[in-house]
């Protein structure tokens, strides 16, 4: 491993470890309604929002009311976005005169951005007007992220509250997420990105006559403002077709660092927010440690595989010392591409700065597996954390079984009801990935989307359904996703992966919130030490491994052995 690679990876880890704790503490203050630096600016806006929606800010909602609010808000957001996409030819800011999206693609896109997935079955510069990008997508980039954060805070309240029956107020949590956390960070990141060269304008595309006398039509647009929030909100939907590989979307190594840190910073901060709200920082640090260990292992495997290059061109007179460069950009190289691939799939972001489809088999398997675990290694903003709490419930339950005691977590008894709800939520992932993925692998309408022959073809399907169900949005982009069949089925997978987890997890919170808190005794299993961290990782890897190993064996693992054996398809 070249020292320059190690230094770049270490710098990233240090930045996350240094920035996440203060951000998490700040966010805890925000959600608990304490005064912060930004209160004078935003408190009046918050009041106005409450008046507009008829919300009493101190009115805690029962989990069912909270869940209804999430669903109602998201439904209207879906309808508005769908309408914008279908009517963009009639709306302003369309200098290229782009046509409306067809119905199934608009359905897929609206679901995709509502569920914080940002799966893109279209290419931005060829399909979307600036109005659709801004009013349609940028809005959803903020509020879908805000929805995830709000739900996470509500679920956390269920675990940590010592009394009461409510889990918070959705409108208030959502508004605070957007105003106090996402918007200020997005403004800072936007300005850094413009400085580095990301366009921010409303110009028509620019025709250029190249140095050799050829023609080049150069796409433009309000890109920086959307890219900033796409990273911070773990949305990931690119302004341009190839996302953050496009030099306008990610022009320099510095813009790359800012974006990749933006992806992970809020999900990582949630661990520390949790510690703060639980009034026991060790609990948050334990979860951060579990996530961190899995992240570093994933990073090491992907980096190693990409650095080693493609065995099938090793016999050619090609100098592969730079690693596997197909689908990667020179300014980032293998190290920043591998770091991004692991970060974006650990965090349910889904933006890419290199093409995952052209990764080595093992290099591409790791991102796939991270998505299949349910996006809980940091995960989506908010979504990653409540997903992780689901595994915590399972881990505590298993620990309880082993010692023959009713399991407790943060002093509250974890009983059959919570475990059943947790398993129900967990099952939505294999349902979306394996059942819908298997359908796509046998139905002619599904198979038609596959580009590559051999096991890599199965990997393309598996990746698509893992990405949609995990609400990630990255792709093995050779997969022809823009068909009626895939638009519909992947849309369903995205809905499953979002709401079939949100509702049961809110129910877990609702069930826990009223439970009595038991004092810690000598018999209490501590959930803040290395033993618990190890147990939690073990549960995640075993559940994920048992569920997805057979599929991975037929796809990326089979391809890996084909590659090392010199077999091409």
């Amino acid at each position: 491993m070249p020292m320059t690679d190690l230094v770049q990876l270490a710098l990233f880890v240090v930045l996350i470890a240094a920035l996440a704790p203060p951000l998490g503490r700040y966010m805890a203050r925000v959600y608990q309604g304490e005064r912060t630096l930004l209160s004078p600016l935003f408190a009046p806006v918050e009041t106005a929002v409450c008046r507009l929606t008829g919300t009493r800010p101190d009115a805690d909602q029962h989990w069912t009311a909270y869940a209804f609010a999430v669903l109602a808000f998201n439904l209207t957001g879906f309808l508005v976005l769908f309408a914008i996409l279908r009517l963009q030819h009639l709306l302003p800011f369309n200098p290229q005169g782009l046509a409306p999206m067809n119905a199934d693609l608009a359905f897929n896109t609206a679901v995709s951005f509502m569920t914080n997935t940002n799966w893109q079955a279209y290419s931005g510069e060829a399909a979307l007007s600036y109005f659709s990008q801004m009013a349609g997508l940028t809005t959803q980039n903020f509020v879908s992220a805000g929805t995830g954060m709000a739900v996470a805070v509500a679920v956390i309240r269920g675990f940590v509250r010592r009394s009461g029956r409510g889990v918070g107020n959705f409108t208030v949590d959502l508004t605070r997420s957007v105003l106090y956390v996402l918007l200020p960070l997005a403004i800072v990141v936007t300005l850094i990105l413009i400085w580095q060269g990301v366009p921010q304008n409303l110009m028509a595309y620019v025709p250029a006559t190249t140095l050799e006398g050829g023609q080049q039509l150069i796409a433009q647009g309000p890109a920086a403002s959307q890219i900033a929030i796409k990273q911070l909100g773990t949305n990931g939907g690119g302004f341009f077709g190839v996302n953050s590989a496009y030099p306008y979307e990610n022009p320099t190594p510095l813009s790359n660092l800012v974006q990749v840190v933006s992806i992970l910073i809020i999900p990582a901060a949630f661990c520390f927010l949790y510690g703060r709200m639980a009034k026991d920082n060790r609990q948050g640090r334990a979860i951060f440690a579990a996530m961190g260990v899995m992240f570093l292992v994933a990073l090491g495997v992907t980096y190693g595989a990409e650095r080693a290059g493609n065995d099938l061109i090793a016999a050619l007179p090609v100098d592969q010392s730079a690693g596997n460069m197909e689908g990667k950009e020179v300014r980032f190289g293998v190290v920043n591409s591998a770091l991004w691939a692991v970060t974006t799939t650990a965090a349910s972001n889904g933006s890419v700065n290199a093409m995952h489809d052209s990764f080595t088999p093992v290099g591409g398997m790791v991102p796939m597996f991270l998505m299949q675990l349910g996006e809980i290694v940091f995960g989506g903003v908010g979504a990653g954390f409540y997903g992780m709490l689901l595994y915590v419930v399972l881990a505590v339950f298993l620990a309880g079984l082993m010692v023959g005691r009713t399991p407790e977590y943060l002093g509250k008894k974890i009983e059959a009801k919570e475990v059943k709800l947790g398993v129900l939520a967990l099952l939505s992932i294999p349902l979306g990935v394996l059942v819908l993925g298997a359908l796509s692998a046998v139905l002619p309408a599904g198979v038609a989307s596959v580009q590559d022959a051999g096991p890599h073809g199965l990997s393309e399907i598996l990746y698509a359904y893992s990405s949609a169900t995990g609400n990630n949005g990255s792709a093995f982009a050779g997969f022809g996703a823009g068909t009626l069949y895939q638009n519909t089925m992947l849309g369903i997978a995205m809905l499953l992966g979002r709401f079939a987890i949100i509702v049961p997890m809110l129910a877990v919170a609702g069930s826990l919130v009223g439970k009595k808190v038991h004092a810690e005794t000598a018999g209490t299993f501590p959930t803040h030490g290395p033993l618990f961290v190890g147990l939690l990782i073990g549960v995640i890897v075993i559940v994920g491994g048992l569920t997805f190993f057979p599929a991975l064996a037929l796809g990326p693992l089979a391809e890996h052995f084909a590659m090392t054996g010199g077999l091409a398809y």
Binding site: Q200, L211, Y246, G333, Y569
Partner: protein, 196 residues
């Protein structure tokens, strides 16, 4: 229930006004004021005002007297309104065949026979618009470019060396050469238009 849902609809529209219209337009105004060049795409204009390209985007170069960028899958090659990659898997025969063909072509064109071709010169980039090649890939083409222009190789080598960008702060990213900037400097060196 319906009234409540409509209220959430109103909230959504309010967010659209602030986040979907206010925020991007404010950022556009601020960006255009603070960083006017970058905000408008870092365009390069000729003396007569026509646009030559963007400093950030690669262009298609096929003539022997220019340095070539990486293979591109954006439209018909370096189409900045249709970005794209090969997305071929590592075990794809199509990929292996394409890399093989490019390697042979690169070696024949370089005329230097024995040396192995730098990998970035024979693999498609992520965007199809990669403006850079590695310093090794630029050096690999020096003898061809020098011969086509009738320039001494040392002069072309010196120009390449001048155009190598190191890691940002000595730390971030990979060393690289901007192909368009290098070719423009090459034209300037030769004193105007290249031989056709």
């Amino acid at each position: 229930m319906l009234v409540k849902t409509l209220r959430y609809g109103a909230l959504y529209l309010g967010f659209t006004a602030v986040l979907g219209i206010g925020y991007p337009l404010a950022m556009t105004g601020l960006g255009q004021t603070l960083f006017p060049e970058q905000a408008t795409g870092s365009l390069i204009e000729r003396d007569d005002g026509t646009v030559l390209g963007s400093a950030l985007l690669g262009q298609s170069f096929t003539r022997p007297e220019y340095f070539h960028g990486r293979p591109s899958y954006a439209g018909d090659g370096y189409d900045a309104a249709s970005s794209g990659a090969s997305n071929l898997g590592a075990t794809s025969r199509t990929l292996v065949a394409a890399v093989t063909e490019r390697t042979e072509a690169a070696r024949a064109a370089a005329g230097s026979g024995a040396a192995a071709v730098p990998v970035d010169l024979v693999t498609g980039s992520g965007s199809g618009l990669d403006p850079h090649v590695s310093p090794e890939a630029a050096r690999y083409q020096v003898s061809r470019v020098a011969a086509a222009r009738g320039l001494p190789e040392t002069a072309v080598h010196a120009l390449v060396a001048k155009h190598v960008e190191g890691r940002t702060l000595g730390l971030l990213g990979e060393p690289r050469v901007n192909v368009l900037a290098l070719n423009m400097a090459l034209d300037a060196l030769a004193g105007g238009a290249p031989p056709r």
